[in-house]
């Protein structure tokens, strides 16, 4: 811990590694890249939600001889994109299970000819009944997936919820719902593929997880690993949306490349991207909570359901994380969570920052305020009475071994926001005003890295090498998409090797060059990969010390000279390490019991919201975010992650609504799917408490997803504080506020809080 506090580069806000290229406009995103003889690809998609494909008719007004046409029949390997379950076809064959499902691919040298051609392919169907909601799916009148529409279930139990009985002074129930949310990365999905008999498939694209794409291409093309190469291009935002979907698009582009004999670029426009790619899982969470007379939690009983869409994709792991984040940062002796993910005939839902946690945390933290109101306890006090502390056992009976400082985070958030004084002020002012102000808070955590044994199974391999030109390269498959991977990992290497940050660079994110250090997801990069790089650097120094006599203190010149002596001896200077789990990580995947995550990031967020009772708009006026994420490697980028996550969370709560019409997204344009703009975001005040985590890269824990977890409940709690009315579903748009406020109180009473 002392060592960590004496760092030079870790903890400093150095310039973003690829920042200058981005600022000069010379960073190369996929759509900026041309290949010799390149064609363009487009997709013919299902216009119905469920049915049998009867025929595919190509209109004669188009000269199809100019086009390459690919259907499922052209797939050389398995017609399946398997993330976890083998259920999603690469191209629909005989049947479709959701609107916008890909059926036919077209390629042409002129991209401007593709739109008309796509419209000239007519697919004839025999429609089947389709379902679009969790309720329709769980009724099981229409079975659209497996034997029962159930994509996955989990059962978590601690103690015995049913044993509480008469000891409970209060039972509080509630139902909470969250809607779909679009990632809205500003760069749409895109890929370029090339194919040759000799070298196989090469793709360049906007993606998070190069080796996921390798796996998908190998299966679809039936190729060996060394015949598939995936290169990440500069990626313009991802947020989980480029975790799973790029596998599908890469296979499509590569199929067209194989059949046409040309490199093929496929870049979606915004409407196609919004209509056809994954989104955040909608959820319905029911809580039934028993408390004693002092407001101490006795039992938490949760029924959690998500809509998974038409195929399994990552719904099981999203449900897992939702389950493990559903009971909040509280100590409770009796817990039962029954979780299920249901299939519908909507575009499959997928990974999105938070990965089930925002849904579960919205329910729990909204419910805590309803408990507080029922019991007549201040929401702050109710939480304080129930917080987990160091040494406590959480819902999976994982002992909280690392220092846990929720009280300290809460105190800081109350102080920085001047919470009590502001609430008192608005309680005085609101009755005389059409604008009602209130404050709301959320207490929450986010587990860093893969769940349970996930990191052990991933078995990530990463490290560094040294080029003859005197540059250290970080060798990982972890990718940069705005969140700072390039900068953080080169900071870690520069720190560990005690050399200049300018002399460390990232190796190209190319599976032909870098080892598989796992996907760039789950808030794992700084903590898990950072630690691997830190260890690989220490191992390199040991090699240089033992074989070529590098001293324990050295100048940078001496370091690179030692590297050259080592190269003369061994041919190359490279150090790779595999993931090592922290000790005593024991996880029972069947019972959902044990160490669910190696580390947790903790936070208290407070929102101030003004509700205008004339226009029914809700405006987040101010926001305070206090968190403990271990060591902060780069303060400016860490604050940027938190601010960006909060803005996305504000959108989730108050702006972003996916409007469905017969199973199709009706508002698939930026004109009518609305995200917060520069004029909508409040001042966001970000504070870090730092407790270095000994098994994370220079003490880091995960940070990327945490800030999306807290805003929605904090904002809706603030609206309850302002208006006295409980809103339990998001997104909460002005029309919903209107309906709720007018139903709750006659207009003449609106002035009374």
């Amino acid at each position: 811990m002392e060592k960590h506090l004496a760092t030079r580069i870790v903890g400093a806000s150095v310039p973003r590694k690829e920042g200058v290229d981005k600022l000069l406009g010379r960073a190369r995103y996929v759509d900026d890249i041309e290949r010799e003889g390149m064609w363009h690809g487009a997709t013919v998609r299902s216009s119905i939600s469920r049915g049998q494909i009867r025929s595919i008719v190509f209109d004669r007004r188009i000269d199809w001889s100019e086009f390459t046409i690919v259907t499922a029949a052209d797939i050389p390997g398995d017609n399946c994109i398997q993330l976890i379950v083998a259920d999603q076809p690469c191209l629909a064959d005989r049947k479709v299970n959701h609107c916008e499902e890909p059926i036919v691919l077209l390629a042409h040298p002129d991209k401007h000819k593709l739109r008309e051609a796509v419209g000239a392919v007519r697919v004839e169907y025999e429609a089947l009944p389709a379902i679009f909601t969790i309720e329709e799916s769980e009724r099981q009148n229409v079975i659209v997936w497996g034997a029962d529409n159930l994509l996955k279930t989990f059962f978590l139990e601690k103690g015995d919820v049913d044993s509480v009985g008469a000891a409970a002074a209060h039972i509080v129930e509630g139902e909470y719902r969250t809607g779909a949310q679009e990632h809205l990365y500003i760069e749409n999905q895109g890929m370029i593929a090339e194919y040759s008999e000799k070298t196989g498939v090469t793709v360049w694209g906007s993606l998070q997880c190069p080796y996921y794409v390798v796996k998908a291409l190998r299966a679809v093309f039936d190729l060996a690993e060394n015949n598939v190469r995936v290169i990440q291009t500069e990626t313009g935002g991802a947020f989980g949306g480029k975790e799973d979907f790029p596998s599908n698009l890469a296979c499509h582009a590569a199929l067209l490349a194989m059949k046409s004999g040309h490199p093929v670029k496929m870049v979606y426009d915004r409407m196609e991207d919004l209509a056809a790619t994954t989104k955040r899982h909608p959820s319905r969470v029911r809580h039934r909570t028993a408390l004693d007379k002092d407001g101490k939690l006795l039992a938490i009983d949760i029924d959690l359901a998500t809509d998974g869409g038409a195929y399994a994709t990552l719904s099981s792991t999203v449900l897992s994380r939702a389950t493990l984040h559903s009971t909040g940062p509280y100590l409770c002796p009796n817990i039962r969570v029954r979780a299920s993910s249901w299939a519908t005939n909507l575009v499959p839902y997928g990974a999105f920052r938070g990965f089930g946690a925002p849904q579960a945390i919205f329910a729990m933290e909204r419910h805590m305020d309803e408990i507080a109101a029922t019991l007549g306890i201040d929401p702050v006090e109710l939480r304080r009475r129930n917080f987990l502390h160091t040494g406590d056992a959480n819902a999976t009976e994982q002992e909280m071994r690392e220092p846990l400082i929720l009280d300290q985070l809460l105190d800081r958030a109350l102080k920085e926001s001047d919470y009590h004084a502001r609430r008192a002020q608005y309680a005085r002012e609101n009755p005389g005003s059409n604008v009602k102000r209130g404050l709301g808070l959320a207490a929450f955590y986010h587990g860093s890295g893969f769940t349970g044994s996930g990191e052990v199974y991933l078995n990530s391999l990463g490290g560094v090498d040294v080029t003859p030109e005197g540059t250290v390269r970080v060798l990982v498959s972890n990718t940069e998409f705005g969140q700072g991977t390039n900068t953080i990992l080169t900071q870690v290497a520069a720190e560990a090797l005690a050399i200049d940050y300018a002399n460390v660079m990232m190796a190209s994110p190319d599976t032909g060059l870098v080892p598989n250090s796992g996907p760039t997801v789950a808030s794992r990069t700084s903590m898990v990969i950072g630690r691997i790089i830190e260890r690989a650097c220490a191992q390199l120094l040991k090699m240089l010390h033992e074989h070529v006599g590098l001293g324990s203190t050295y100048t940078e010149k001496e370091f690179f000279a030692a590297c050259e002596r080592y190269r003369a001896l061994r041919g190359e200077v490279m150090s790779l390490c595999r993931y090592e789990a922290p000790p005593s990580i024991v996880w029972d995947d069947q019972k959902y019991h044990g160490e669910a995550y190696g580390a947790y990031a903790w936070a208290i967020y407070i929102a101030q919201v003004a509700v205008d009772t004339v226009t029914y708009s809700a405006d987040v006026e101010d926001f305070w975010a206090v968190q403990e994420v271990g060591r902060v490697i780069h303060p400016v980028m860490a604050a940027g992650q938190v601010e960006g996550g909060i803005a996305q969370g504000i959108g989730y709560a108050l702006y972003e609504k996916v409007v469905w019409q017969d199973g199709r997204m009706a508002n698939n344009q930026m004109t009518n799917y609305i995200m917060p703009t520069a004029e909508d975001v409040p001042p966001i005040h970000v504070y870090f408490e730092q407790i270095p985590f000994r098994y994370g890269g220079f003490g880091a824990k995960g940070i990327g997803e945490l800030p999306h977890d807290g805003p929605a409940p904090a904002i809706l709690n603030a609206i309850r504080d302002a208006t006295g009315v409980a809103f339990n579903a998001i997104p909460l748009l002005p029309e919903d506020l209107y309906a709720g406020l007018t139903a709750a109180q006659p207009a003449e009473n609106m002035a009374m809080r």
Binding site: R16, R26, I186
Partner: protein, 180 residues
């Protein structure tokens, strides 16, 4: 300096300058300025985010105005002077806005950055000492999904010339993050 010249008998000749370079193109008059910049002139710094004028990723400056180049048929650019992100840096030195975005964390994934820089440059040329409210208004047509805009406001504030009135960043109650 001269830029690109293409000749095609079918199309009218359209002349305009980009970043000080003159171009003469025989080109479909309805082709989007965005596509002409990217495809015909190879200036791929200008990005397409939505194709309907909502996101501002394709913002360029045309005759001293900020425009969404996805909504401008190239015919409208006939005779115009256009500046793109590639024209901001001078003699290899970062423009003060580029330097500020680099130092303040104003760019994350970078896809909105060219448009954001052009909108910021437009603001500072027309209003050298904007208030925070004016910065927010000037950037309201440029969507960023990564930053939550805070670091972008900081960046624009940091790029304001120091002489004269108060620094924009001082005019808010916002604090910089506290690392303990």
């Amino acid at each position: 300096m001269s830029g690109h010249t293409t000749l095609d008998r079918c199309w009218p000749t359209i002349r305009f300058s980009v970043n000080g370079q003159h171009n003469q193109l025989n080109i479909s008059p309805m082709k989007r300025l965005l596509d002409v910049l990217r495809e015909d002139l190879g200036l791929t710094g200008t990005k397409e985010g939505c194709g309907e004028g909502e996101c501002g990723s394709c913002s360029v400056r045309m005759n001293g105005e900020l425009v969404n180049s996805c909504l401008v048929p190239v015919l409208q650019a006939d005779g115009a002077e256009i500046q793109t992100v590639e024209g901001l840096a001078l003699n290899g030195a970062l423009h003060p806005l580029q330097k500020a975005f680099l130092e303040q964390g104003g760019a994350q994934c970078g896809i909105c950055t060219p448009g954001m820089l052009m909108a910021s440059a437009q603001l500072l040329e027309t209003n050298p000492h904007p208030s925070m409210a004016e910065i927010r208004e000037a950037l309201a047509g440029n969507l960023c999904r990564c930053t939550g805009f805070m670091r972008i406001f900081e960046s624009v504030g940091a790029a304001i010339a120091p002489e004269g009135t108060a620094h924009a960043a001082d005019s808010t109650k916002r604090e910089t993050p506290h690392a303990r």
